[in-house]
């Protein structure tokens, strides 16, 4: 049963990733990305990562994908353009990518992995929370500061010029 679910999720993931790679419309690519993220979340569940699957749905599907869709809508002239997304140098890229896929899957299949004997499925949220607050506390704090800096930078960067000009006199008075 689990094997069947794995095969279905893999097909969903890979086919929608191919749509992202091959479709000529940015909107269709974004919708393909939605199904890829969902398939990857399902694969996380099959690899006993339930908390990560929920995070994937919240952050990727609820956050990053909405952001990408907004960028698509804001960065194309909806009225006159057809949201096209042309591709260049298709054949050489396809050759390189297929060769790389063959190489990587060959390496994955032929290597004898030292798989542990007791592969078990258990809830991971409690363990992850404990690790984040003890062993990985410093990376956790660093990444939270990085996220804050990136979000402030993004907000400042996407501000229109007029708003920046209106902001400046206030700042000078403040000094």
């Amino acid at each position: 049963m689990a094997d069947l679910v794995f095969v279905l999720l893999s097909i969903l993931t890979v086919v929608s990733a191919l749509i992202v790679a091959g479709n000529s419309s940015v909107i269709y690519s974004a919708v393909g990305l939605l199904f890829t993220f969902m398939g990857v979340a399902g694969l996380y569940v099959l690899a006993s990562a339930d908390f990560l699957a929920a995070t994937q749905m919240l952050v990727y599907v609820g956050g990053i994908l909405v952001l990408i869709l907004f960028a698509v809508f804001l960065s194309n002239r909806i009225s006159d353009a057809k949201l096209s997304n042309p591709t260049h140098m298709r054949v050489p890229s396809a050759i390189v990518c297929i060769a790389l896929f063959g190489l990587m899957s060959n390496a994955a299949v032929t290597t004898e992995w030292a798989v542990k004997t007791n592969v078990e499925y258990a809830p991971t949220t409690a363990v992850l929370g404990r690790l984040l607050m003890t062993k990985y506390l410093l990376p956790f704090e660093v990444v939270s500061v990085l996220l804050l800096a990136a979000l402030i930078g993004a907000a400042l960067l996407s501000r229109p010029e007029s708003a920046k000009a209106a902001l400046k006199p206030d700042m000078e008075e403040g000094q």
């Binding site: 689990a2 790679a21 996380y44 990560l52 960028a71 996407s158």
Partner: protein
């Protein structure tokens, strides 16, 4: 369902992302390719953590990768919006005013 099958799926996802990055000129589409590659890496982390790892290190690393991806997407998309306001397009090869 075994480790090598997870790795093959992740390799396919990685190659789709690489193909997207190699063929597209639209900045937003390039970002989608980057997200595909990050997801492929995350599948690898989680699968290795499940089949080989004794502690949860792989899953912790995947959490950090998701956070970095969110930060990267926010900054990159705001840069593309600014590029659209200045150059009138998000095609990355139109952003060559430093060269000319």
């Amino acid at each position: 369902m075994s480790l090598d099958k997870f790795l093959v799926v992740s390799a396919a996802l990685f190659c789709c992302g690489l193909y997207t990055i190699m063929t597209r000129r639209n900045g937003v589409a390039l970002l989608m390719g980057v997200e595909l590659i990050l997801n492929a890496a995350n599948i690898n982390f989680v699968a290795f953590s499940h089949y080989l790892g004794k502690v949860m290190g792989g899953q912790i690393f995947a959490v950090f990768v998701i956070v970095i991806a969110a930060a990267e997407a926010a900054v990159a998309l705001s840069i593309f919006l600014r590029l659209f306001a200045t150059a009138g397009s998000v095609e990355v090869d139109t952003a060559d005013s430093l060269k000319n």
